[in-house]
Amino acid sequence: MTLLHRRLTKSDLLELITTAPTETVHLSDEHRVSLSTRFRAVSVPGHRRLDAWGVERAGRAGSTFRWSPASARRVLGNASLRRMTTRPVSVRDAVRDELGDQMLRATSGYSRSGSLSHWLASAPHPVIGLVTAEAVNWATQLQEIGQWLEVPWEVASSDAYYDVASARTTLRARRDLVVRAEETRTIVRVRSGSPGKSAGPGLRADLTIEALADHDGVAPVRYVGLWPDAGVCLAVDGTMSDLRSGARDLVRTAVAQRRSGVPLAA
């Protein structure tokens, strides 16, 4: 297993990016079939969604999701930074533009109940202010991290999703920045708080899902998890053993979820 632990400094982060392995590992159709078989063996009546957070919590149920300034910051912050990479605009203005677009989507009837747009459209003015503040924090932080990299990077267009065939299971991997170099890619994922003891398995789960979500099954050469609040970063290389570990942890989480009767996704 390759789990690298560094302080979150410009030099350490840059080293993690530039010293990433150069050879890529591929997941084949056989790997996908094998994973699907394992998930099918852990059958559930509804549809289940698994991610790194579930792996880190060993399948235990968390509190019910609700939109709040904190839960909206990443979606809005990443979208705002994406705007800033296409045209020069301040972080604050980019966030306001993004909020405006989101609310326009709701008023024009293109958002469904429970979506971020829907929640924003009904939120009072001061809450919108707080959402702006949280998104500005996130986008500014991510922009600084991007500036540290000194290599071309892009904001991920979305998280990585993979539907496991015939297993009524969707896997989701968080990704925030993507660094591409010729045939390889390194993924940077940012999380609030500080890493727990199971942060490494969580990162490996993200690595595996990211590889599965790639249509050619190409794994990123390195997956870097950043915890700016704690000033630390962890990284895991895209090796076959790490991919296998990630897949095993996901299946184990599905088993733990079934045993504990965690409510499944609608």
């Binding site: 302080r7 979150l8 400094t9 410009k10 609700r66 709040s68 300034p69 904190a70 301040s90 972080v91 604050r92 203005d93 966030v95 939120a123 009072p124 003015h125 001061p126 809450v127 919108i128 202010g129 707080l130 702006t132 503040a133 500005v136 924090n137 500014t140 932080q141 600084e144 500036q147 540290w148 609030s192 708080g193 500080s194 700016p228 609040d229 704690a230 000033g231």
Partner: protein
């Protein structure tokens, strides 16, 4: 440097930024030394003991070394502090605030849903609530007069959280910086830390200022330019340039607090 801004029109943010031509080069070398000082100091106190429940240090822990009655820690005082914090967040992104108290309460509810303090707020009778609203309005006026506009290109961030685990997790340092401006990517130090308190400034505020600077240094490995604390009760502001000596004093404050907590167990 101590300034009373009630009568002057000097912007706090301008004062924090200071003379741009006199900023020192960015210091990225001190963080490691400070961390070692902390780790060594903690080892002298705890030895090789691994604690199941970590000792937690916060800025509030450093405010007073001895247990004394503090009216700002009453429920009303805490609610007032939280509401002023919410208003600062709204001001940091240039939001217009029409009714300070109502807007702050609305933002707070949207942020945390419900908690013990919100229950206390809801339990206030009409007179108590009106008194609190007037109090918050007064603090808000003092804050806005001093703060002025915060330009977006100074990259203001509010409620910035920091957590540091030391001694293998036996000690956890936590901090929330009310407002942070500047960037850690420039070649000169430019990060300024702003803390707002609804109580008058005292010795504890000095320790808090140092602690914020220490935590920011440990978090980013970049020493901030200045740290300041502002009292919305008196309009007084203390601003300190950050240097190694100030941070080393904060390390001593933290170690003293850990020693107190450890001896009390």
């Amino acid at each position: 440097m101590t300034s009373v801004l009630d009568s002057s029109r000097v912007s706090v943010v301008e004062a924090m930024r200071g003379d741009r031509t006199k900023r020192p080069l960015i210091d990225i070398a001190s963080a490691g030394g400070l961390r070692s000082l902390l780790e060594d100091g903690i080892y002298e106190i705890l030895g090789a003991t691994r604690l199941d429940a970590p000792l937690v240090v916060r800025a509030a822990s450093l405010q007073q070394r001895f247990a004394i009655t503090d009216l700002t820690m009453s429920s009303a005082g805490r609610i007032r502090g939280v509401l002023i914090g919410q208003l600062l967040r709204l001001l940091s992104v240039g939001m217009s605030i029409d009714h300070a108290f109502d807007d702050a309460v609305s933002a707070w509810r949207g942020d945390v849903g419900t908690n013990e303090l919100i229950v206390c707020l809801d339990a206030l009778d009409h007179d108590e609530r009106a008194r609190l609203a007037t109090d918050v309005d007064a603090h808000y006026v003092t804050l806005t007069r001093a703060l002025g506009d915060i330009p977006a290109h100074w990259l203001p961030r509010s409620c910035v959280r920091t957590t540091q685990r030391l001694a293998g997790g036996s000690v956890v340092l936590r901090d929330v910086i009310d407002l942070l401006i500047g960037t850690s990517t420039s070649e000169v130090a430019s990060i300024a830390l702003f803390d707002v308190t609804t109580s008058p400034l005292g010795e504890g505020a000095e320790r808090s200022m140092r602690y914020h600077a220490l935590m920011q240094t440990l978090r980013t490995s970049v020493m901030p330019l200045r740290t300041c604390t502002f009292s919305s009760a008196t309009g007084e502001i203390w601003i300190r340039d950050v240097d190694y000596e100030l941070l080393a004093r904060s390390v001593e404050d933290v170690l003293a607090n850990i020693r107190d907590q450890w001896s009390a167990t």
